[in-house]
């Protein structure tokens, strides 16, 4: 805490890397870093393919009206705040009064309510799935746009050659949107350090703190809660820097592999 906000930069003592050294020895930081990485990687693994699959399915639909209604409904979660999603989730998932638990109990599938949001492993799954659910519909827009850009002649030629629907999907649609997939993957890699504070905050409670304690929470609690400005800022800076470096690296790799890249 050598940086005194009131004194500004000139009045504060220069401490070099001391704060960073302290941060990297901080057990709380290590824990939050580990949680952030684990959860964001899982988010990427589960959440990234989902919009691609959905876009492929939507593209195959033959009934325009059905397609339109589905899209409208699937985009909806993107427009709801985490406060709304959180309160809906609690109403659905509470062990005693949540609808899902009541239904499962009435069906005789479970004896006592499943602690979806109050036991850490259940919480982890619920948290991830809600994240995927929130973003899946919206994520399809870009892929659908990319798919419309693929020339119809390719499909015709493939059909004449006897390629079935799956073959066409695999050999024409997927290669056709490869560039878009790579671009979005790069953008998502940049987010692997950061996490959405609101999403973590709304689903936080004492029982799941062990998993919920991620970098965004660390920065908030250390910084605004305990007024450890230096440490919190160092972590924030570290987070942003690693994110930036990851994007640049991924962009290089994509270009080396012959894709367009992002920058």
């Amino acid at each position: 805490m050598d940086y005194k906000p009131a004194k500004g930069y000139d009045g504060s003592k220069w401490v070099g890397w001391a704060t960073f050294a302290k941060v990297f020895k901080d057990a709380d930081f290590i824990r939050s870093l580990r949680n952030s990485l684990v959860f964001n990687i899982m988010d990427l693994l589960v959440g990234f393919p989902m919009p691609i699959i959905l876009a492929l399915i939507l593209n195959e639909l033959r009934y325009p009206r059905f397609k339109k209604v589905t899209q409208t409904i699937l985009y909806l979660p993107h427009f709801l705040s985490w406060a709304i999603i959180g309160s809906v989730a609690y109403q659905m998932f509470k062990p005693s009064t949540g609808m899902i638990n009541i239904v499962l109990q009435n069906l005789g599938l479970i004896e006592t309510g499943i602690p979806f949001l109050t036991e850490k492993y259940h919480w982890a799954v619920t948290y991830l799935l809600i994240g995927v659910w929130q973003g899946m519909g919206w994520g399809t827009i870009i892929y659908l746009a990319a798919i419309t850009g693929i020339s119809g002649e390719l499909y015709e030629a493939a059909m004449i050659d006897g390629a079935g629907r799956w073959k066409r999907m695999w050999y024409i649609t997927l290669p056709g949107i490869k560039g878009t997939v790579v671009t979005l993957l790069i953008m998502n890699l940049g987010r692997i350090m950061g996490s959405n504070f609101e999403r973590l905050d709304i689903f936080g409670n004492t029982q799941v703190r062990e998993f919920q304690y991620q970098l965004a929470i660390y920065i908030y609690e250390k910084g605004l809660g305990n007024a450890q400005f230096s440490m919190s800022t160092a972590v924030g800076l570290f987070q942003s820097l690693v994110g930036l470096i990851l994007v640049l690296l991924a962009d290089r790799v994509a270009k080396a592999l012959g894709e367009d890249g992002l920058l």
Partner: protein
Amino acid sequence: MAKKKDEVVRGAEVSSDGNRAINKFRFGDAVMMLVLVILCLTCVLPFVHLAAKSISSNSAVLAKSVFLWPKDVTLDAYTSLFKDGSMVYSMGYSVVVTAIFTLLGMIACTCAAYPLSKKRLKGRTFFTFLLMFPMYFSAGLIPSYLLVKSLHLLDTMWVLILPLIYSPYNMLIMKTFFQSSIPDSLEESAFLDGATNIQILTKIVIPLSKPIMATLSLFYAVGRWNAYADNKYYIKTDTLKMVQYKLYQMVASATEAQTTTLSEAAAVTSTPEVLQAASVMFVTIPIICIYPFLQKYFVKGVMVGAVKG
């Protein structure tokens, strides 16, 4: 440009008709439609459940017999919500904040995007880099907090408005649109007729960009409307908090009640489930009502952004 798009779309339709002639409805179609229907239900049913809960009687909810259809219909929860007034007040307050934010945001965004879309601007690359940089790198929470504090914005309405009015992402979309859709020749001829830069912007460019302006206003408005974290960071006074934060507080207090009392029966009686459901519906209904009409603008915005984003 638009004509070309039409042709592409028509082309796609023709080929999909061709598909239909060759492939009949197959097992695969049924599976895919089933998957989509299930996913849609996960988006709709929770809200149906909440709506049903919010207009059911307390006892029916406590008896756990309300699922997707209300029981003993009553509007008590909504009446008490309106009588209490704090939710209604913060709703109105949120509307005001969002409106000011959107207006200022659009002005800031246009002021950045228009000059940057012009090749004749000196130092264009430098300014573009400078203004796009925040999209890839940000200093983080504490520096923003200290800045806001030094500007004496803490605990005022303006802290919810000013820090975020410039958005690099929206600026990029607007700049891309200006560059791709407004011909340079139009501007040149106006220039020859003696129009100034400001006149060209207000009389020619903005009227021609109405669709993208609508889209970006919506991006701004929805972003502001939904965010609550900055309420938590910067604001202490209750009357200055937006409605999403009120909802968040309600959830937080309910979960705390549930986690501290180990016996679940106590938690059930201490959390006014119906009232919470009514509050959620109260905040959500406006969005659900306007959303289907605005959705196409959002999609358009994402498409423009995807060109270079």
